[in-house]
């Protein structure tokens, strides 16, 4: 038996846990289709509403960008936050727990794998939606928008790790929480319209979800004329702060809840 360093185990766990997510791109082609098709159909409905209301053309851009970001939020909720619930049900969580690795490494691997696969899906949604609805973007803001996008992803998946830690302890209750978070967050984060329309208090509250400010900043950079909630620089700074805050909170929550889960028998699938 050889005992390896924690850093080595951490890095290898990240790569290993990302692997099934990435390999799913080739092995679950049908899922890929549905994951792309449904957000596009959702966006199409909103586009038709806006066209019916004779909204300015830039609103179609809001919808397409929101549709692309929706893929990430759904992924964070249903493939990150709830994953430990699945893992507990089939006994995988027990094997993660008794291995010398950490939950942080497992979750980071999950996040990396999810980011890769979901970026492909979101990219297809963005390109297809833009071509379909004839949307043009300001090329001058592209590089900055990519930077904001990457920062938003980091913050969003750190939030996903925090939510996943809740699932380590709670099961069905946390499932309801994820369901409850989905539609309201879709609405208040301004997926289909500029978040400024919700007013300072609601939009400020919605800013706890990194997607809200990240998406708004990307829209300001790529779709000139977007109503400004707060300036891009401030939005980016807040999202940048959310990355370590959510990461640290996730780490603390994981440690606390692992101890409680061991104490209350929440990690085991049977206990006769």
């Amino acid at each position: 038996m050889t005992q390896y360093s924690p850093l080595r185990i951490f890095l290898k766990t990240v790569v290993a846990r990302a692997y099934p997510r990435v390999i799913a791109i080739w092995r679950q082609v049908a899922w890929l289709f549905f994951d792309m098709a449904f957000p596009i159909v959702g966006s199409l409905a909103m586009v038709l509403v806006y066209q019916g209301l004779h909204a300015p053309r830039q609103y179609l851009g809001f919808v397409v960008m929101g549709g692309a970001m929706l893929a990430f939020w759904q992924n964070v909720l249903w493939s990150m936050a709830t994953q430990f619930s699945w893992d507990r049900g089939n006994g995988t969580l027990e094997l993660y727990t008794i291995a010398p690795t950490t939950f942080e490494a497992v979750l980071l691997g999950m996040a990396v794998g999810s980011m890769i696969t979901t970026t492909i899906r979101a990219g297809v949604i963005l390109v297809a939606g833009s071509l379909l609805f004839g949307i043009s973007y300001a090329s001058g803001g592209a590089l900055a928008a990519i930077g904001v996008f990457l920062l938003t992803l980091a913050a969003l998946y750190c939030l996903g790790m925090l939510l996943a830690s809740l699932f380590l302890f709670y099961s069905r209750e946390a499932w309801h929480l994820a369901s409850a978070l989905q539609e309201p967050v879709n609405f208040i984060s301004g997926l289909y319209f500029p978040v400024r329309a919700l007013g300072a208090y609601v939009a400020g509250g919605a800013s706890l979800v990194p997607m809200t400010l990240g998406l708004d900043a990307m829209r300001q950079l790529l779709l000139p004329g977007t109503p400004v909630f707060i300036p891009v620089g401030l939005e980016t700074t807040i999202v940048a702060i959310q990355v370590p805050v959510y990461a640290i909170l996730a780490g603390l929550a994981l440690r606390f809840l692992e101890t409680r889960a061991r104490s209350e028998g929440k990690l085991v699938t049977r206990w006769d």
Partner: protein, 339 residues
């Protein structure tokens, strides 16, 4: 990156527990799953934990593998405290459960095993070599590139054993590893466990099983757990000696009225268990001496049931278990009279 090997002291017990207990509390009730467990398992031993459903075997294993905290007492595995030193301990242990369904269905067998090897920091090359070697030994080499969703339960169980062994743990916990396996697959699992232990005399296995014959065949020592307590422990031979002076009789009857309680009530019947097989009720009776047998046959006759077979035989571990626990492993806790 160089790894560090922990020092091994052959005199140190592989597993030790002192007054170990676990209570589950919920809003509605309190369940005492384990109480006052004192065990000491030597390095290199294959130690069996036997008990009926709900006896506390799995709770004991889950505490020892750091999945569950005890509510009283202490436990050490390979010299490390399961509560205080759990992070260090996790480098040295592994667990395989019967009917295990862990992992990701879209992965192939080799990929799945590689994934779990990485949680221990193994190099990919070393992991692949070890995986191939173990798959070959367990007759799974040909399905190594099949997705795990397409494996039979026997193959899946063998794959779980490969997962448990590939990281070369100091102590491996096998929780009913042959449950629901066919005879051939169960034999392969047992053979591999023996071979793995034979490679290093300090390797230790803690095994829970429902199969007495398996425990008798494999284990150096066993502990019998009932209602959360260890009621006996020793070598299978020593436990069997507890029923050495009894007369053991197997009785086969055609189906009919329930009889088990009536047989147990006969003076001189030390213990009785029953199971139904192929439409025939089979009773095992521990009698104080030969003189009890006529009373047994009179009771059977009085019940209107017909005897189709009667055999006197040597004691087994199962007989010792029935005598100690009062029922066989196959009987549910509440069933007083299955046959």
């Amino acid at each position: 990156m160089a790894g560090t090997s922990p020092s091994s002291t052959s005199s140190r017990p592989a597993v030790e527990t002192r007054q170990l207990g676990r209570v589950y509390k919920s809003r509605k009730d309190v369940v005492v799953a384990l109480q006052g467990i004192d065990l000491s398992v030597k390095q290199g031993e294959l130690f069996g934990v036997l008990g009926p459903n709900g006896a506390g075997k799995t709770t004991l294993i889950k505490i020892l593998v750091t999945l569950l905290l005890p509510t009283s007492g202490q436990a050490w595995v390979d010299g490390l405290d399961v509560v205080k030193d759990y992070r260090a301990l996790r480098h040295r242990i592994s667990m395989v459960s019967g009917g295990e369904n862990a992992g990701y269905g879209l992965l192939r067998v080799r990929e799945q095993l590689w994934l779990f090897s990485q949680l221990y920091g193994m190099s990919s090359a070393a992991a692949r070599r070890r995986i191939d070697e173990l798959l070959e030994r367990l007759g799974l080499a040909e399905v190594g590139n099949r997705t795990i969703a397409g494996l039979s339960s026997g193959m899946r169980q063998k794959m779980s054993l490969v997962r448990g062994l590939m990281t070369d743990p100091r102590v491996i916990f096998l929780d009913e590893p042959t449950v629901a396996l066919d005879v051939g697959a169960a034999r392969d699992v047992r053979n591999e466990v023996r071979r793995w232990m034979g490679e290093d005399p300090t390797r230790t296995v803690i095994l829970t099983t429902h199969y007495m014959q398996e425990a008798d065949e494999l284990c150096d020592r066993v502990a019998i757990v009932n209602r959360g307590e260890v009621i006996a422990h020793g070598t299978p031979q020593a436990l069997k000696q507890q029923v050495d002076e009894d007369v053991i009789v197997d009785l086969q009857l055609e189906p009919g009225r329930p009889l088990l309680d009536a047989l147990r009530a006969i003076e001189g019947v030390g213990a009785a268990s029953a199971r139904e097989e192929d439409g025939i009720d089979r009773f095992s009776l521990l009698l104080a001496d030969d003189a009890v047998l006529p009373r047994v046959l009179t009771t059977v006759e009085g019940s209107g049931r017909r005897v189709t077979g009667l055999v006197r035989r040597q004691p087994t571990l199962e007989d010792a278990f029935v005598k100690l626990v009062g029922r066989s492993l196959h009987e549910e806790d509440s069933s007083g009279d299955g046959a």
